[in-house]
Symmetry: C2
DNA sequence: CGAACAGTTGATCAGGATCAACTCGAGTGG
DNA sequence: CCACTCGAGTTGATCCTGATCAACTGTTCG
């Protein structure tokens, strides 16, 4: 059960390609099991990586072991698009068993150059990604631990919902409290206590891997969460 | 003297265009004086804005007045490229007197669609911008106040140097301590004390607007600064 | 001359870090 | 089948970085 693999594949912007073009690209997805590095923090790679199923996170580890998690990723995310033009400054690790498509950089570049709608989709998604980074900066710079955690859970829930991975107010988000702490700039001990408080306040139920939002308006309020920055389509914006 | 205007214009990626094409675009730069909003945090705009001379910062203000600064900008920066495709989630304010070129969105979009090298330059610069955001996240999440401040000063110095705005180890960076605090997630009082410590350690001299780096290796060490994430051309990377 | 703002200083407070121990499964190997 | 280990979560005690509050200085500018 641990690290179960989400059933359906999501191709994100690549999904805009004609099936005949998409099929050979995604023909042989690689499996990455829970905890393995999908993209190394070190050396360069010949490919870019599309997460097709499962969950992952981007991170950077400092010399003495401190770690900063920079994003949690869902199916459809291009994990290392930066690698197409620049050296990477982060690694990507699987949060669950994942299905990953490796796309040769030259091939991806060609697709971008040739397909306007694809290019626009990629462009847009990287703008949204930057907006999420800014939102995280606001959180780490100016929000309390409780607001940060609540905000992150709201964000995760909305992003999962946007790719069809929620059922009701539940979603599968298999992080440890240490992952949350490293994403939010907190210690794992404090993260634990704040989560308990959120549970005690009836906002969430969250044990292990399944996030259950018990009081969505309450959680949004606690996190000062406004989903505008995610730039989701109208239909998903609440 | 206050808010002096940097002498030379820098067109950043736009500089790649043929002079005949560039000239009409930048023919009538607008002046934005110190402290005025160049791009509003509220309503949408019909233009995108290129900072051509002077300095500015992007920021977001929360309901109760807390503020997060998201970037400091130098000449050549496109301040609100995001506005081309998405609603903005931040405002931009002038740190000094500025010269700003407003480019109609449709015009900018056309340039991007038609000029490959220009498009690549824009693309690259937005990847670098995202890398800088991530670096700030690492700082706010996992670095001490002293390291954060040292790191930011290193970054500012390097970026200024990359656009030719330094002389030796000096650069003009007219922020208040409150600006620094709001960029780094600190209080202005604490920022003041840490700056004093950096001065006392002989790493910097910084009074008012002129940043002087007295001990570059020392400052880099204090900030755990590695300029790789700025992706500067070889020649400027140290 | 006075207002307004940036910087500075001291005193106190608090949010969250750190250290350490303990519980509770889930695997794993004997 | 059970002892063992290992990772995650939990709890308590204590510490400390950095926040907050408040006063005061100095400068600029109207």
């Amino acid at each position: 059960m641990a690290g179960r693999l989400t059933t359906f594949d999501n191709y994100g912007p690549l999904g805009l390609l004609a099936p005949a073009e998409l099929a050979p690209l995604v023909a042989a997805p690689r499996l990455a099991s829970l905890g393995t590095e999908i993209v190394s923090e070190e050396g360069p790679s010949k490919d870019c990586h599309l997460l097709v199923a499962g969950q992952a996170y981007r991170h950077r580890t400092l010399a003495d072991g401190r770690r900063q998690i920079m994003s949690f990723n869902v199916p459809g995310d291009l994990l290392d698009l930066q690698g197409l033009s620049l050296d990477l400054d982060f690694g990507v690790t699987a949060l669950s068993n994942c299905r990953v498509v490796a796309i040769p950089k030259a091939k991806l570049q060609a697709l971008i150059d040739e397909h306007l709608t694809f290019r626009q989709a990629i462009w847009r998604s990287s703008l949204v990604e930057a907006a999420i980074f800014r939102e995280w900066m606001v959180g780490m710079g100016r929000r309390s631990a409780q607001a940060r955690i609540a905000h992150l859970l709201c964000e995760v829930y909305m992003r999962h919902r946007a790719v069809g991975l929620t059922s009701g107010r539940n979603c599968y988000f298999p992080v440890t409290q240490t992952h949350l702490a490293d994403a939010l700039g907190l210690s794992s001990v404090h993260t634990n206590r704040v989560l308990q408080a959120l549970r005690a306040d009836g906002l969430i139920a969250y044990r292990g891997r399944e996030l259950v939002i018990r009081d969505w308006p309450g959680l949004c309020a606690a996190g000062e969460f406004d989903p505008a920055y995610l730039h989701l389509p109208e239909r998903l914006a609440a």
